[in-house]
């Protein structure tokens, strides 16, 4: 028997060593850094079958982007129809659960407040041409902007759709001339920079809004984002946000907060962009007790919670506070701005602008952690709120341990003092951009800008404006760190850890019953005291015994 056991034991140990070695080499599931950057990896369509430089229809001069679009549509005959259903075109999303109309067309946020009424400026990021007021024709396929997503030269840009006040329009002067013919011939699958044109600049600047989407992701090192890293996987956005007929997977309005399905078979599951859709429901390879326990966490923790230890990394700051109350100050009658923050990559950021107010930035931020069921709820222009109960959540979300859909997610929390209708207790549409005298970015008269904005939208306005304290929450899901930088156990399994104050679950190391610990400690210390006492009496009595 003995030699058998001995041999079995040796075989087992050798097997374990080989397995451990193989693991160390493959670094599963995190790929190692590669020295030679590859092309950005897009979705399933990676590997095009057409060279657009050879297309005759593109070998001419184009006067406008819309002319290019017409050329595109002459071959991609169904694309216009497909495209017009997506949110980049409609700027509208109807929440199936609440019936609320969301999307940039309707929402008020606590950054530049509202796109509605300011389309001349804001619709620069609309994937179309010429939306400057309510008269835009959403059924005109020729107005689709194909190039903003498909330009591969990096030279394409769009100007605001209307001129705006001279005070602001100067920002756009002196842009280099575009060669639309060259751009049209360059088209290909979108790269990070294409999506980033708008998504990195939400809220009016680089990384201002989301905190986890910044220009640092155009060419990020693997350490900033393990998927997008140019020295690693080099994923384009569409590698995860896969498309089907120009509809994208992954929605901010309705997040899949807890994926119960994981990876699908080929051809299945083309509607989600969750971590699980690639990594499955047991993402950690079970090669140790700890990794087994880590897989247990998947039911209550979003992957992002541990794998994005900080956001606004990579040298680009995000805005954390915005105070509209200080907007409108002028020097010698003209607006001005102040630099006051130098971010990680050395660039200066404005901390004050007459047109917007005071800003606070921060980098490498620890998120706020909350139970999240994926459903964001919005305070829209129609919502009446109690102005005495501030801060008002511009968007909030629900979630609880018990609902079966929630997990703990990381969020960026934005804090803003912003204009509101104090008489009616509602948010307001402020008319910021325009050539007229009512636009705030020209006259610095908030009351007038609100009155104009509300009138334009046909909404009631009490005439009393003021400023309310608001917050908004932004689920953090990008800037996934390599696994070696993921949070360790002690980040949460400790008193005063990251999940301090989050209820609905028992966390060893954080949680304990005070009474139980008190009774337990009294029992242990009491026993020790009893033993000591007993021993002392024994010693004393034995001395006495010797004396007598």
């Amino acid at each position: 028997m003995r030699p058998f056991f001995g041999r079995a034991l040796v075989a087992l140990l050798v097997g374990l060593l080989i397995a451990a070695d193989a693991l160390a080499q493959s670094q599963w599931p995190t790929p190692p850094a590669t020295p030679t950057p590859s092309e950005q990896i897009s979705g399933p369509l990676t590997g095009g079958t057409a060279d657009h430089t050879k297309f005759e229809i593109l070998q001419r001069a184009f006067a406008t982007g819309s002319d290019v679009t017409q050329a595109c549509l002459s071959c991609h005959t169904e694309t216009g129809r497909h495209f017009m259903r997506n949110i980049h075109w409609t700027w509208e999303y109807k929440n199936p659960a609440t019936g609320q109309l969301l999307g940039k067309k309707h929402l008020v946020n606590n950054f530049c407040t509202n796109a509605r009424g300011n389309e001349g400026m804001c619709a620069q990021c609309h994937a179309g041409y010429g939306w400057k007021d309510e008269n835009f024709d959403f059924s005109d396929e020729t107005k689709i902007d194909c190039l903003v997503c498909h330009d591969r030269t990096g030279t394409y840009y769009k100007m605001p759709n209307s001129a705006g006040s001279p005070a602001c329009s100067v920002m756009f002067e002196g842009k280099p001339e575009m060669n639309l013919s060259r751009i049209a011939q360059s088209v290909g699958l979108p790269e990070r920079a294409n999506c980033g044109t708008c998504h990195f600049n939400g809220g009016g600047g680089d990384n201002v809004k989301h905190g986890d989407l910044s220009s640092a992701l155009k060419n990020p090192p693997r350490t900033l984002d393990v998927h997008m890293g140019v020295d690693g996987l080099n994923f384009a956005c569409t590698a995860c946000h896969i498309t089907n007929r120009h509809l994208w997977a992954g929605s901010r309005y309705q997040v899949a907060a807890k994926d119960l399905e994981g990876t699908g078979r080929p051809g299945q599951r083309r509607d989600v962009a969750t971590c699980e859709s690639c990594h499955g429901l047991s993402p950690h390879r079970v090669d140790s007790i700890a990794s087994f326990k880590r897989n247990d966490h998947v039911s209550s923790l979003a992957c992002q919670t541990c794998h994005i230890p900080e956001y606004a990394r990579g040298g680009v700051a995000t805005m954390t506070h915005w105070d509209w109350r200080t907007a409108g100050k002028t020097r010698d009658g003209v607006g001005y701005h102040e630099h006051g923050y130098i971010q990680g990559n050395g660039e200066h950021r404005y901390t004050y602008k007459s047109i917007k107010g005071t800003f606070t930035y921060d980098e490498n931020l620890v998120p706020v952690y909350r139970w999240f069921d994926g459903q964001m709820q919005y305070t829209t222009i129609d919502t009446k709120f109690d102005i005495d109960r501030q801060p008002i959540a511009i968007n909030d979300f629900s979630g609880h341990r018990e609902d079966g859909r929630s997990r703990i997610w990381p969020f960026k929390r934005m804090h803003t003092w912003m204009p509101a209708d104090m008489g009616n207790g509602t948010l307001v549409y402020t008319h910021l951009w325009g050539e007229d005298d009512d636009s705030y970015w020209g006259n610095y008269d908030m009351g007038r800008a609100i009155a104009a904005g509300m009138k334009k939208a046909g909404l009631p306005y009490s005439g009393q404006y003021g400023f309310v304290e608001t917050v908004s929450y932004w689920p953090i899901t990008h800037m996934v760190a390599p696994k070696e930088d993921a949070l360790g156990c002690e980040s949460c399994h400790a008193r005063g850890g990251r999940l301090e104050g989050l209820d609905g679950l028992y966390i060893p190391g954080r949680d304990h019953n005070r009474w139980l610990d008190l009774i337990g400690l009294i029992a242990v210390l009491g026993t020790l005291a009893g033993i000591l006492g007993h021993a002392l009496i024994r010693i004393v009595s034995s001395f006495r015994g010797q004396h007598s």
């Binding site: 700890a290 949680d511 139980l516 337990g520 029992a523 242990v524 024994r538």
Partner: protein, 217 residues
């Protein structure tokens, strides 16, 4: 009746006792680390140690239960009131007077009544409490989606912690007891070499001498 040195703790019992001791030490140390009482080892190491030691201990218990029943040695753990009063009186009074321990080990009964009761409580109350709650904790992934799973887990965690305190109290008293009666060494040695002074009936003595001469000196 003669007192002879007889092997009362078999090799398995001694192995069982000491490996159990080691595992319980590891469990107490890592467990109170997980609980946040000390940070001498990292949380991940503590989880690994705690889980491994727990699984090994469960395996050991499975073996020992099997062994106890096949060798019928489970009878040593049956509680009795006979002699209990004298033992209690000894520890709380007689011991200070230098009296001798009132209990003499018998071949069929190697624990005094207090010991038997204490070990029995440990076996049928504390150990099951801690391993049932511990297994529930370890297997949380199997039932985490049931309603109120989190509340149940909290309950299990409390019972588990409570049982751990009780086991620590047992360990303290158990070790202290080695210093009572005879000497520390005399209490310790039987659990090392297996032999202790036992009061044998003539029949037992005759049997041992004839059939198991290696177990009697």
């Amino acid at each position: 009746m003669t007192i002879r040195r007889v092997k009362i703790f078999s090799l398995f019992e001694r192995f069982w006792h000491w490996s159990q001791m080691l595992l319980i030490m590891i469990l107490l140390f890592s467990g109170f680390g997980l609980h946040g009482f000390h940070h001498l080892i990292g949380f991940e190491t503590a989880v690994t140690l705690h889980t491994l030691a727990a699984l090994l201990l469960l395996l050991l218990w499975a073996f020992s239960v099997f062994w106890l029943f096949t060798t019928k040695t489970w009878r040593h753990f049956i509680p009795t009131l006979s002699g209990m009063w004298q033992v209690l009186r000894f520890y709380s009074y007689g011991i200070f007077k230098g009296e001798h321990h009132p209990y003499r080990k018998a071949y069929w009964r190697k624990h005094n009544p207090l010991q038997a009761l204490a070990y029995l409580m440990l076996k049928i109350l504390l150990f099951p409490l801690i391993w049932i709650t511990g297994l529930a904790y370890l297997g949380y992934f199997l039932w985490r989606d049931l309603p109120q799973a989190s509340d149940w887990l909290t309950g299990f965690a409390y019972v588990h912690t409570g049982a751990a305190y009780a086991i620590l109290v047992f360990v303290l008293v158990h070790v202290y007891m080695l210093t009572t009666g005879h000497s520390f060494r005399e209490h310790l040695m039987p659990m090392i070499n297996g032999f202790d002074d036992v009061d044998l009936t003539p029949e037992e003595e005759a049997y041992l001498l004839k059939d198991e001469p290696e177990n009697i000196r």
